[in-house]
Amino acid sequence: MSCSNLTMLVSSKPSLSDASNLSFRSVLNPFQLPSQNSSSSATTPSRSLISPLQCGLRELRTRIDSVKNTQKITEAMKLVAAAKVRRAQEAVVNGRPFSQTLVEVLYNINEQLQTDDVDVPLTKARPVKKVALVVCTGDRGLCGGYNNAILKKAEARIAELKTLGLDYTVISVGKKGNTYFLRRPYIPVDKFLEGGTLPTAKEAQTIADDTFSLFVSEEVDKVELLYTKFVSLVKSQPVIHTLLPLSPKGEICDINGVCVDAADDEFFRLTTKEGKLTVERDAVRTKTADFSPILQFEQDPVQILDALLPLYLNSQILRALQESLASELAARMSAMSNASENASELKKNLSTVYNRQRQAKITGEILEIVAGANALE
């Protein structure tokens, strides 16, 4: 009696795809087995729906757990990047007295040398036949488009040089760039260098030595530095700077020949405003009044310039490395914060689905009990 009643209930609502009905039917299945021959064609499609649903709850739970774990990791990476940005900023601040004094001295010597015709190896502009590109990339990924952007810039520059009919060679700095250029053997690479966690004068010195010897031995006639300029925490920009030949006026020109005056040095500074990290850029116009007018040059001014320009070269490279690192960390920070946001949204959606299914299952079980009790009456 009860058995026939239940089968009737099932066959009366075969078209319903409601979850409660499905789980209800799954429990009913063993009862149905003896009389299944007649209704087998009707139940098979619904049965295939049952199995993913039954596992669905467990699957959903594992998915929610894995999303939770991922969120934890991205959150931690974001915090680490934030802390490192602050350290990168400290490094810039520590280098400030040096670069400030250097710019000051260079500026003054240039004033005095303005009339002279200086001839220093590092400033000699030769007709360009070969160009060296120093490409600064990061050591690790998971930082959005940071590495791609700079490598794309390098590729674009290489294509440009090719159309101009110029020879080129690449000095790659950073692991990401190294793997990129190693996979492309048709791009001539002069040297692979490792970036290191915090750029110091040693790293800058290695790059400077390399470019210096390349330039002085006349193997290349121009050295360009490709790095990511730190504009703000959410914006960075891959740029090209001409490193050598150094203009004797202490100016560096970008690729369009627009001069960036070294005396007008910019420093970036991170500050907290209303609890959020912000960036301040301040241009430092160096004072030159305290420089003694009766200053004597121990050596020939040209020799002094010769000693100063490598220092200037080094500090330029160091600054580029520091800016690249700061950009990388900022990029990682925003990428990771996006990832955390996405994870929390995914978690929310999954939890909603999970709760709905769980509720549906409970409703189904209650229905089953009620139906059973009704049948017994």
């Binding site: 007295p97 004094t101 004068a201 040693k202 010897s213 200053l295 004597q296 000693a307 220092l311 160091l318």
Partner: protein, 133 residues
């Protein structure tokens, strides 16, 4: 009259305090600087800086740069500076040997320039230790 010395490298301030006298390696030879020195600007060679502080001599290895003296203020800008007491003698000696070997192996103009620079740096570091001893 006091003399103030400030040694700067791109990433830190190595020395910033009062001294009695210094001996500096310039491109045109060594010069000694006492208080009230005439204002000069000079290129600093890869070499040793000797500092006198109350009858005590300290040495520092300088990796080439620039110095400005005037108004009892000495500002030295160098690529790298290491105090003699901070250098590991064994490591410095090894570096020197490697640099010497590299120079003898170097071929071509570019390699020779590089090797020569490295050798001079290594030699200076070794000298900075030996003066103390």
């Amino acid at each position: 009259m006091t003399l103030n010395l400030c040694v700067l490298t791109p990433n830190r301030i190595v020395w910033d305090s009062e001294v009695k006298e210094i001996i500096l390696c310039t491109n045109s030879g060594q010069i000694g600087v006492l208080p009230n020195h005439a204002p000069i600007a000079t290129a600093v060679d890869i070499g040793i800086l000797r500092i006198r502080r109350n009858d005590q001599w300290l040495t520092m290895a300088l990796m080439g740069g620039f110095a400005r003296i005037g108004n009892n203020e000495i500002t030295i800008l160098v690529n790298d500076a290491e105090k003699g007491s901070d250098i590991d003698p064994q490591e410095a000696q090894q570096t020197l040997e490697i640099a010497e070997a590299n120079l003898s192996k170097a071929e071509g103009k570019r390699k020779t320039i590089e090797a020569n620079l490295a050798l001079r740096r290594a030699r200076t570091r070794v000298e900075a230790i030996n003066i103390i001893a």
